[in-house]
C-alpha cells in the first residue's frame, strides 16, 4: 500500500484542491448570475445550465476514469488502483445525482416534461444505474481481492456498453422523432455565456480531481488502520 503520513498528506492536498475549486464555483456563479446576460427564451431558468452541464460533464468524466482504472487494475493487480476506481465512481455518483436532478428541474419549464427518453438522457440514466450496481456490488462483497476483480469487470463492461446504448436509443428515436421534444444540445451560445460555461466546466473538473484525491486518500487510510488493528489483534 503506502505509508500513513503519505496518505494523510495526500488527503490534505485533495482538500486544498477541493477548497480552491469551491472558491472557483462561487466565482462562476457570481459571474453566471450577475455578469452573464439572461438567456432570451428560457429566462432565469437557463441559469441552471451552469450547474447542470458541468455536473454532467464531471459525472461522465468520473465514470470513464473508473472504467479505465478498471482495465489498469486487472492488468497491474495493484489494490490502490481498485481503491482509486472506487473513489472516482463514488464521486461521479455525487455529480450524476446533481445532474439527474437539475436536468428535470430544467426540463419541466422548458420541455414541459420531467423526463424524455432522448438518446443522451437515456444513456446517461443507464450509465448511472450501472454505477449504482457497481457500488452496490462493492457494498456486498467482503473480500477485497474478489471485490476488486468483480468491480473491475463491471467497470470495463460498462465502458463498452455506453456507446451501444447511445446508438440504440438514437436508432429508436430516429424511427419516430417526438414532436414536442427539443433534444438538449449546446445552442450556439453568445460569447459571454460560452465563457461562463467553459470556466464552470473547468472548475468542476478541478472539483472532481479534488474530491477524488480526498476520497482515495481516505480509503487508503481506512485500509491501513484496519490492517494495523488486525495485526495488533
Amino acid at each position: 500500500m503506502m505509508t500513513m503520513d503519505r496518505a494523510e498528506r495526500m488527503a490534505r492536498v485533495g482538500g486544498a484542491i477541493t477548497l480552491l475549486a469551491l472558491v472557483g464555483v462561487i466565482g462562476v456563479y457570481v459571474r453566471a448570475l450577475a455578469f452573464t446576460p439572461v438567456e432570451r427564451f428560457q429566462g432565469l431558468a437557463q441559469k441552471i445550465y451552469y450547474v447542470h452541464v458541468p455536473n454532467a460533464w464531471a459525472a461522465l468524466l468520473a465514470f470513464v476514469v473508473t472504467g479505465l482504472l478498471s482495465i489498469l487494475y486487472l492488468w497491474l493487480k495493484d489494490r490502490r488502483i481498485d481503491l482509486a476506481a472506487a473513489a472516482s465512481a463514488e464521486v461521479g455518483m455525487a455529480f450524476a445525482v446533481v445532474m439527474m436532478t437539475t436536468g428535470p428541474i430544467w426540463g419541466k419549464p422548458i420541455w414541459g416534461t420531467w423526463w424524455t427518453w432522448d438518446a443522451r438522457l437515456t444513456s446517461t440514466l443507464f450509465l448511472f444505474l450501472l454505477f449504482v450496481g457497481y457500488l452496490v456490488l462493492r457494498g456486498v462483497m467482503t473480500d477485497p481481492g474478489v471485490r476488486g476483480r468483480f468491480c473491475a469487470v463491471i467497470g470495463i463492461m460498462a465502458l463498452v456498453l455506453v456507446p451501444f446504448i447511445h446508438m440504440t436509443v438514437y436508432l429508436f428515436r430516429t424511427l419516430h422523432p417526438q414532436p414536442i421534444l427539443l433534444k438538449p444540445s449546446a445552442p450556439s451560445l453568445p460569447g459571454a455565456m460560452l465563457v461562463t460555461l467553459l470556466t464552470s466546466i473547468f472548475v468542476f473538473t478541478v472539483l472532481y480531481v479534488g474530491f477524488t484525491t480526498q476520497r482515495y486518500a481516505l480509503a487508503v487510510m481506512r485500509e491501513l488502520r484496519a490492517e494495523e488493528a488486525a495485526n495488533a489483534a
Partner: protein
C-alpha cells in the same frame, strides 16, 4: 530417499480475509511418499491453507508451485446433488480425461457405494456423501492429495479402510497433506505432523509412517 525434487512447494504464504490475517508466511515442501498431517484449533487456518495450496484461493502474498496431478477433499462435497453418484464421477472423469470405464465402478465398490451408484447424491447420508467425495478425489490417481478432515462422517470400518488406503497410496509414491482433528488415527501412515497456530506453521515433528 529416491524422491528428490518436491512435488509441492509453498513459499511464505499469507492470506487474510477482509483485514483478518489468517495465514502468516507459511512455507512448506512436500516430496513423493510424504504425508503431512496438519492439526490446529478451530479457526486456525487449516482449510484456508489447503484451499490456497489447491489453488482455489489466492494467497495475499507468497507462491505455490505444484508439478503434479492434484486430488482434493474439502469441507464441501463439491458434487452435484441432483445427479447420481455415477453421473457425478462420470462428469469429472471426462474433465480429467480418465478414459478407463472400469475406474468408476471400481471406486464405487471400493468405497462401499456399489449398490447406490445410481441414486441421486441428494438422497445420500452424510457418510455416503463423504465416501463419494473421496472417490471423486481419487478418480485420476493423483500424485498429490489435499484432504480436509477426510475421516468425518465415516463409520468405523470406513475410517479404517480409508487410512489403510492412504497408506498404500503413499507407499506407491503419492504425497499428501491431511487436515484432521484426530492425528492419532493417522499415526502409522503420516510421516510429518504439522501444527498451525496463529496463522503460522510450527516446526514439523516426525510421525510413525516411514518416509520412503
Amino acid at each position: 530417499m529416491i524422491s528428490t525434487d518436491p512435488v509441492l512447494r509453498a513459499e511464505k504464504l499469507s492470506r487474510s480475509f477482509g483485514y483478518r490475517p489468517v495465514l502468516r508466511d507459511v512455507s512448506l515442501e512436500l516430496r513423493r511418499s510424504q504425508m503431512l498431517v496438519l492439526v490446529g484449533a478451530n479457526g486456525a487456518g487449516k482449510t484456508t491453507l489447503l484451499r490456497v495450496l489447491a489453488g482455489l484461493l489466492r494467497p495475499t502474498s507468497g507462491t505455490v508451485e505444484c508439478s503434479v496431478r492434484v486430488g482434493a477433499v474439502t469441507h464441501d462435497s463439491m458434487l452435484y446433488p441432483a445427479l447420481t453418484a455415477r453421473e457425478n464421477l462420470r462428469f469429472f472423469a471426462r474433465l480429467l480425461n480418465v478414459n478407463d470405464p472400469e475406474r468408476i465402478d471400481e471406486l464405487l465398490e471400493l468405497l462401499g457405494l456399489g449398490t447406490r451408484g445410481d441414486d441421486r447424491v441428494q438422497t445420500f447420508s452424510r457418510g455416503m456423501v463423504q465416501r463419494l467425495t473421496i472417490a471423486r478425489a481419487l478418480l485420476h490417481r493423483p500424485q498429490l492429495l489435499l484432504l480436509d478432515e477426510p475421516l468425518t462422517g465415516l463409520d468405523a470400518s470406513g475410517r479404517w479402510e480409508l487410512v489403510e488406503r492412504l497408506g498404500t497410496l503413499r507407499a506407491d509414491g503419492a504425497a499428501m497433506v491431511v487436515v484432521t482433528h484426530q492425528p492419532e488415527a493417522l499415526h502409522d501412515v503420516g510421516t510429518h505432523l504439522g501444527r498451525l497456530d496463529g496463522g503460522r506453521l510450527l516446526a514439523l515433528e516426525p510421525m510413525g509412517g516411514v518416509d520412503a
